[in-house]
Assembly symmetry: C2
Homo-oligomer: 428 residues x 2
């Protein structure tokens, strides 16, 4: 690991461009690597992670000591600190990725033309992925393994606070690649903490990077989306809404609201705004809010809601666009499904929205007229997760409409090409 005082002596952009060239060169053999070989690499990585526990913990202790000295937040320190148990979980995560089906070569569609041409659309790797993440050592292994499974080379750039931990884990990934005879440059970790490295990645390293995936908070994602010259798979915010229709089962509405908000408040699929049908104000509103408050949630409500539930804090305009990631919820009465659709289409971050309703017409309108990545009926927004979708490990959730939307798993890290089989056809 090159420390900041060494970095002044190295040319970061030249280093990054060389990493880009190496990744691009590795992408070609990776693209045709058989599933078996990739899985040998992944299991060897997991073995190396388990076998290197002492080394990884020692490296992590250095990061944790610096983090304490630098006054990292409790949440940051929790994400940074590794334990024997966490290291075993990281290795298990890599093995779970090995167990996923290999998407490369899958025939997505096939048809035959009247002239006898047989056309197939088959999955191919995307090429080179750039992953920029904050100081969470486990992402080193998760992201490296997931990109490899989809046949992609990857350049990882982790947060400086976890630099030693990430380097120790990366060494295990490189060892796994070596065991399988795959190029070690298939998974590279940027060895400098200079922010210029991120800038170079966002410019795409002269065409070497096909897509950037940021993993972290809003400031990281915002910078990446603002500056990137290459496609980005990300969501800036998960401003998720839950709408309770007058036709909702009251018990179900209450249980889903509490779960959607309070199960884990810090994840992107946590509900931030509750919209309640004005027609359900008498029947559903107060029990739901009472249950939320009873679970420890602060209620910020418009004046109409406060008429029914005076204990609520008045909501300001900002509350309708704030991703709290905390035990706070904004609550508003709306004019039925039309009001819910208008509110969500205007203010949502288009990540995940849920409806509780029994009226099928209302549900279909919700499903048809709201254009968010994930829409749920009679289920908690907290199911917005690649694992919960049965897609296996995910590298994040995307709200863009291009290529990947919703959970970004191994399949979303692929492209496709057409294979056409003929018997001498020429075009008239």
């Amino acid at each position: 690991m090159l420390k900041t005082n060494d970095e002044t002596r190295i040319d970061v952009v030249a280093l990054m461009n060389e990493m880009g060239r190496a990744a691009r060169a590795a992408a070609r053999p990776l693209a045709t690597a058989p599933e078996r070989v990739k899985n040998v690499a992944l299991h060897a990585m997991a073995d190396a992670i388990v076998a290197s526990e002492r080394k990884i913990l020692a490296a992590n202790a250095v990061d944790v000591a610096s983090g304490t000295e630098n006054g990292l937040s409790v949440a940051s320190m929790d994400r940074l600190a590794l334990s024997s148990e966490r290291i075993r979980a990281i290795a298990a995560g890599v093995r779970a990725i090995a167990a996923l089906a290999d998407p490369v070569g899958d025939v997505i569609a096939a048809w035959t033309r009247p002239n006898g041409l047989e056309i197939e659309r088959v999955r191919t790797p995307l090429g080179v992925i750039g992953v920029i993440f904050e100081s969470r050592p486990n992402v080193t292994a998760d992201a490296g393994a997931l990109c490899l499974k989809a046949g992609n080379a990857v350049i990882l750039r982790g947060g400086s606070d976890s630099a030693n931990s990430s380097a120790a884990i990366h060494a295990c990934l490189a060892a796994g690649l070596k065991v399988a005879g795959l190029p070690e440059t298939a998974i590279q970790l940027v060895p400098v903490t200079d922010r210029a490295a991120v800038g170079a990645m966002l410019k795409g390293l002269s065409g070497a990077i096909d897509v950037i995936v940021p993993r972290g908070g809003k400031s990281l994602v915002g910078r990446v989306q603002e500056e990137a010259k290459v496609p980005v798979f990300a969501h800036l915010e998960g401003l998720c809404h839950l709408y309770i229709d007058v036709s909702a089962d009251p018990d179900m509405a209450r249980e889903i609201a509490v779960n959607a908000k309070m199960r884990r408040t810090g994840i992107c699929g946590a509900t931030e705004t509750l919209l309640v049908d004005r027609a359900a104000a008498d029947s559903h509103l107060v029990p739901v809010l009472t249950a939320l408050a009873g679970a420890g949630c602060e209620i910020r409500a418009d004046s109409a809601v406060r008429g029914y539930y005076p204990a609520a804090t008045p909501a300001s305009d900002d509350d309708w666009t704030t991703e709290y990631l905390d035990a706070i919820i904004s609550v508003k009465l709306v004019e039925g499904i039309q009001g819910a659709i208008d509110h969500i289409e205007t203010l949502s971050s288009h990540h995940t929205e849920a409806i509780v309703a029994e009226d099928p017409v209302v549900v279909e309108r919700f499903f048809n007229e709201i254009d968010s990545a994930i829409l749920l009926h009679n289920a908690s927004t907290q199911f917005a997760d690649g694992g919960e979708f049965g897609m296996g490990a995910e590298i994040g959730i995307a709200t863009g409409k291009m290529h990947a939307r919703g959970p970004v798993g191994v399949e979303q890290l692929t492209s496709f090409k057409y294979r056409v089989r003929g018997s001498g056809q020429i075009r008239p």
Copy 2:
């Protein structure tokens, strides 16, 4: 149509931003417009185009007169000039788009989770498409109709040489939208010829444009790819290769080579470089080159080829990366399939490549190891076309790996979202 001398008095960027807002507003009702309503609009557009033949021809006559005065090339004048027959063909093209299946709402994938959640991935419109095209009046109708069919709003920016013709055709599209009760701003034509309008579109009009599709020559596409801040569906070049293996049927190789190069030399799927297996030099090479020359093709060859076919012009280094779009072909002997793969992976524009071979092992290597949008076996590269693929009308062919690759038809102009149906599930 605002002429250049008026443009100094208007704020082009403000005008474009207003068009962007109008397009975004139109996108929402369009996204939920039933197939029947969109088809009513498309047929009404076709009717209006046929009924407006005199007006369109009169507008075209103005453009043709200016074009003559401005010294447009013969090819440009041919693309610009309309006739009664061409206008009927434009209308027929719009009706053919009406006849395509509506992709919006298609369930692409569906599965049920162990907890009973039913997950569907369904197609949705992309939103707002920006189409930037050269002076081909027919693209106004083609692009407008195709975007509408996929439920997208579109902003069309045509070349200034066809401004009057495009405006006359656009009036027919607007009339069709009106008949169907769809927002007329669903298909907007930029009413100024100022190049600043293109610059504003490439910046995305403050998030109003989701994707840009350039239709035109290399200088247009190059500018768009270089400057665009939003995703682009395009190919810069169609540097297509044909490889003839020693296992190829010699007659088939000859027929495919002549068709792939000479059927139409100006299309992106025309072959530009012929690679011949060195082992096939005695058996296949000379008959193929003789047939090409007999069809009027200039042969530019490396020295090894010239040993067998001395009439060829010596090829320079540039010939291996030149898209001639003309009756010229570069020819090289390569060391079997490995040599062909190495040459293509190094120099191709990754648009379309074909192989003539009977050996299945060689064919599989070609299909697996070359990463171009379209790969063909025993068929002409000139089949690289959405219509020939059975995908209906296309707005172009993309060589990027993100979202759309190969022919960009109505399906490629969509995104998707997840619909999840539950019965009260909460996440443990």
